[in-house]
Symmetry: C2
Subunit: 306 residues, 2 copies
């Protein structure tokens, strides 16, 4: 068999991944039955680029612009006004949950299907402000290989994201090979509506779950119902999930991307106010979490142009 992870440089992280996968899928003492081979991945900053702004936040700005075109009053109200003026600082000052609520508010009343179509269309064309490529092309090549490698070794891979569940579901299958039912995320409540539109699910402005920190683990309990054996994150928002996975009995692997590559991507950790990496960085060893350096461990960052 050739190298399953050509986008990973030889080193401690790559060796640990291949050793782990070989052990759990082999027939030795560390064998894990296929039904238990569950891996969970964060999305923003772990599977795709989250700098200089969270992709979903940029989607919200475009959505507010669209709404303002037919509702000029909206354009004069805060926080919409600041957003339309391109004030990223103000947007980020809302915090992850604030952005999420804005996100939910701006498509309340839509059917799940219409939202999916809208998100899909946006994702198919929206470009990263500095890298000039589409966001869905700014997924990490080494992680695409890892997802494939895990699936080929009998794993089921889930995404456990603080982002909106339906926003990520709109591209996860095509881009990551992860079907909608294997995406767990922040969610607005849904209501079954019986109307001229038929029987449809409609998005409500109410927050159902803000899938960050401890909630990631609680939602793993709700959606998956067992403890994953591998998890991959990149910020303190993933720390509870990584610790939960590492603390289980038997072979476990908890990994953390460290964005230390200003040349090929971005370098940031504890100062990224929206989603800092601090405690997880300082205490990785205590929590049995392995650090992955983007600069040193990844031979490539983004896939070649398609």
């Amino acid at each position: 068999m050739g190298d399953p992870l050509p986008g990973w440089r030889e080193g401690t992280a790559k060796a640990a991944i291949i050793d782990f996968v070989t052990r759990v899928s082999g027939s030795g003492a560390d064998h894990v039955p296929e039904s238990e081979r569950i891996a969970t991945f964060d999305n923003d900053g772990t599977l795709w680029c989250e700098q200089p702004a969270q992709v979903q936040a940029l989607f919200v700005i475009d959505r507010v612009r669209e709404l303002a075109a037919t509702d000029p009053e909206l354009a004069q109200r805060q926080p919409f006004k600041a957003l339309l003026e391109g004030d990223h600082a103000k947007l980020h000052a809302l915090g992850k949950q604030g952005i999420l609520q804005l996100f939910f508010a701006t498509h309340a009343g839509m059917t799940l299907r219409d939202f999916n179509t809208m998100a899909h269309r946006w994702q198919a064309s929206a470009l990263h402000p500095t890298l000039g490529r589409r966001f869905i092309d700014l997924v990490y090549q080494p992680q695409l290989e890892l997802l494939d490698y895990l699936r080929a070794s009998g794993f089921r891979c889930f995404i456990v994201t603080g982002g909106g569940i339906d926003f990520v579901r709109a591209f996860s299958e095509a881009r990551y090979g992860v079907p909608p039912e294997q995406v767990i995320g922040s969610s607005a409540r849904l209501r079954l509506d019986i109307s001229a539109r038929g029987l449809v699910l409609v998005k409500l402005p109410e927050l159902g779950s803000f899938n960050d920190r401890e909630a990631k683990v609680e939602n793993i309990g709700l959606h998956i119902g067992r403890r994953p054996i591998l998890a991959f994150g990149n910020s303190d928002g993933d720390l509870a999930m990584l610790r939960f996975v590492a603390a289980g009995a038997g072979p476990r692997l908890a990994l953390l991307v460290h964005h230390d590559d200003a040349e090929r991507e971005f370098a940031y950790d504890r100062d990224f106010a929206l989603s800092p990496l601090a405690e997880a960085l300082d205490r990785a060893a205590d929590y049995r979490i392995m650090l992955v350096s983007m600069k040193d461990d990844w031979a490539s960052v983004f896939p070649p142009d398609r």
Copy 2:
């Protein structure tokens, strides 16, 4: 290929199922991509026997008995007292949601893992009061065949139950081949607890979701994120799910077990107060739901003794 459904008698229902599966998995005009081949099944009364009492309600009685052994005061308090006296009528008078809340109350504070072990142990031995077999052997043979047939035809099969999600997950993989993450059910809230027990998920006494009627569809939206193309139920509690599935574009199949077989199982419909079948029976044709008669359509009901 031999008959994939030997437990089904030749007739309209069997022909409709085979025709549907052949069309959606074939390459003709009704082809449905494998990723969209999602089927959802109710559990109580659809996949296993729910008479003369819901299995989960009997589990609760045994659990209350166990708690009362170490807490004699509990045995004197209602509704526990009535339960310990074997008053099924009083138990059923609580309603489905009342039983569920009792169920959650009696294992609040347990870890998900400990609950799973307890439920598993109970299911491995508890016997049906009149049929004398274990509940997990009182699953419907024709439905086991249907689940296998659907999976062999590229479907992913989900359970969407009003029963407790963790109670059903404790046997779904072994008995139905449905892994925990493909079980959607009523749920208590979970909390990540960091204590001497390690990092564990603990069940709270709070209701997270009562997965009945419209909520079944809303939870399909949350857990699956797309509209199934086949659904199977047996009561008005499944009607919203059946209608939602039938109302989608393209080929759809919505099925309803009618318990009309007093000889081999039980005969009941609109008079079963806990979970009546009335509106769905009267309006099946309007809603494009196909009735399956246990008496006429099923050649066998339960699997042979193992």
